[in-house]
């Protein structure tokens, strides 16, 4: 009898990973094929982000760091697209982009292909938005751009002179910017912006990082150094606020069901462990 009980607990405690992953994949795929339309709450951080952009006066200049890599694109890409759409919808906001990530310019091109600034918002490259390229050196690059942008770079990401673009008129250093936004897969990058721009020039700063990096950014937000820390996983919430549902909102059903599955897995594992322990099977 106890031998059979032990066997059940052993089986439950050692479910093969192929079974775990197989069930996980099924739970991923089903809501993708049959969307459930589950509700998505909007968190205070996302609302604060949205309010900050809404409060930008006309003519404001925003610096965006496309600092994420291809690995983070599925999570941060939708957030970057939603925020760009918000900035373009607001209008009369100059958006200057740079990349501290080596894949940043490629991913920016990807985002622009999704946003279609000229076709959907009447925005013009070089007048309303621009990308000044990937600059190696992480914090060195941040400090260099903040100190003297024109001494650091004189071309956009395609190698054309910055002087020909009206958007760059009067842009010299960090003091030329009203807001700094960073998307990054690396917590070090975001901390670098706090050290090199917020601390030195008091530039208002918001960042969107991978959900796993949010805990390391929370102390900065709590201390007022970062206005809002969001994760790319909250892209659906941003899309809801901005009014452009896209990839972010699609993930909500999947995330809800897969997290429910995680809770089931934890419950099964603990039931098996405690059952084995109390039936005398082990510690």
């Amino acid at each position: 009898m106890s031998g059979q009980s032990k066997s059940i607990w052993d089986t439950l405690e050692n479910i093969p990973r192929e079974v775990l992953y197989g069930i996980l994949l099924v739970v991923f795929v089903i809501p993708m094929i049959f969307p459930l339309g589950l509700p998505v709450p909007i968190s205070e951080n996302v609302r604060r982000w949205h309010r900050t952009i809404e409060a930008l006066p006309p003519g404001s200049v925003v610096m965006i760091d496309f600092g994420y890599s291809g690995g983070g694109e599925p999570e941060l890409g939708p957030m970057a697209v939603a925020v760009y759409r918000h900035l373009f919808t607001k209008g009369d906001i100059k958006v200057i982009c740079m990349s501290t990530s080596i894949e940043g310019t490629q991913l920016w091109d990807k985002a622009m292909a999704e946003i279609m600034p000229e076709q959907r918002f009447g925005a013009e490259y070089g007048v309303d938005y621009i990308h000044i390229g990937y600059i190696a050196g992480t914090e060195t690059a941040m400090a260099a751009i903040g100190k003297d942008l024109r001494a650091t770079t004189s071309t956009d990401y395609k190698g054309n002179s910055l002087d020909q673009y009206p958007i760059m008129d009067g842009i010299t250093d960090a003091s030329s910017f009203d807001l700094l936004i960073c998307y990054t897969t690396s917590g070090d990058m975001s901390e670098g912006w706090v050290r090199q721009w917020y601390t030195v020039y008091d530039t208002p700063y918001m960042c969107s990082v991978l959900a796993m990096m949010v805990p390391t950014m929370l102390p900065y937000q709590n201390a007022g150094q970062i206005i809002s820390v969001t994760s790319g996983a909250q892209a659906g919430e941003m899309e809801g606020l901005v009014g452009f549902p896209a990839r972010g909102i699609k993930s909500a059903d999947v995330i809800t069901l897969t997290h429910l599955l995680c809770l089931v897995y934890v419950a099964v594992g603990n039931i098996a462990y405690l059952g084995k322990r109390f039936s005398g099977g082990g510690k």
Binding site: P74, G137, Y157, A233, T256, C262, Y273, L274
Partner: protein, 228 residues
């Protein structure tokens, strides 16, 4: 070559450069040129631009190391390995060739990037999600007080992170906020303060030559000539 050339002068360079950068931030010096910049400001601007170029040079280390390591496998025809090594080097050559000759923002390079590197990078990052799943199945157990805290907080946050749960069970928002705004922020702040003190002491040790790890491999002469 003396220890002075190999060890002392590089350490002095570190100290001088770091000192100039910090001087520019902490001191307000009179301008020396028409642009209204002090000598530290001009020097730091130049140093930062130099740093960008030196970092650009260092981006080639990955490819050089891979060539060095994998060409050995190819020349030795290591069974079960050499074909993969050869393919890896071919990929480096293809990427480099197309990228340099057509430009990194050309249609051809972007096509290659999206067809291979982007897809691979995104998938490699995401594949860790499977290991996280088996990790939470096996690790989130009520075994000790610490693991119990880990499990309870993990369960609360997993439930909170599911968007619909937070709508149907509003109490999860309260618990989730407590975990993030109180428990996590405070612990992370403590870690950050400790880390900041460590970074400051490491910086001072490096500037004074007590920390020589950045010098790489050192000869007996250099080790003997160093200070503790």
């Amino acid at each position: 070559m003396s220890v002075t050339m190999k060890k002392t002068i590089p350490v002095v360079i570190v100290a001088v450069v770091a000192f100039i950068v910090m001087m520019d931030y902490f001191l307000v010096l009179p301008p020396i040129n028409g642009a209204g910049k002090s000598w530290t400001s001009s020097t730091v601007t130049d140093l930062q631009n130099w740093g960008i170029i030196l970092t650009a040079f260092s981006l080639g280390f990955g490819a050089v190391n891979l060539f060095y390591f994998h060409s050995k496998h190819i020349s030795r025809r290591t069974p079960g390995q050499w074909m993969y090594s050869l393919w890896l080097l071919i990929v480096i050559v293809i990427f480099t060739g197309i990228g340099i000759f057509t430009g990194p923002n050309s249609y051809q390079y972007s096509w290659l990037y999206n067809a291979s590197y982007f897809a691979l990078s995104a998938t490699v990052y995401s594949s860790l999600g499977f290991y996280m799943t088996s990790g939470l199945y096996r690790a989130l157990r009520f075994k000790t007080v610490e693991s119990g805290i880990f499990t309870i907080v993990g369960l609360v946050v997993l439930a909170r992170n599911a968007p619909a749960f937070a709508v149907y069970f509003p109490v999860l928002k309260v618990w989730g906020s407590f975990v993030s705004d109180v428990l996590t922020t405070s612990a992370q702040r403590g870690i950050m303060i400790g880390g900041a003190l460590g970074a400051i002491s490491l910086g001072i040790r490096t500037m004074t030559g007590r920390e020589t790890g950045f010098l790489g491999k050192m000869t007996e002469e250099e080790r003997g000539g160093g200070t503790e």
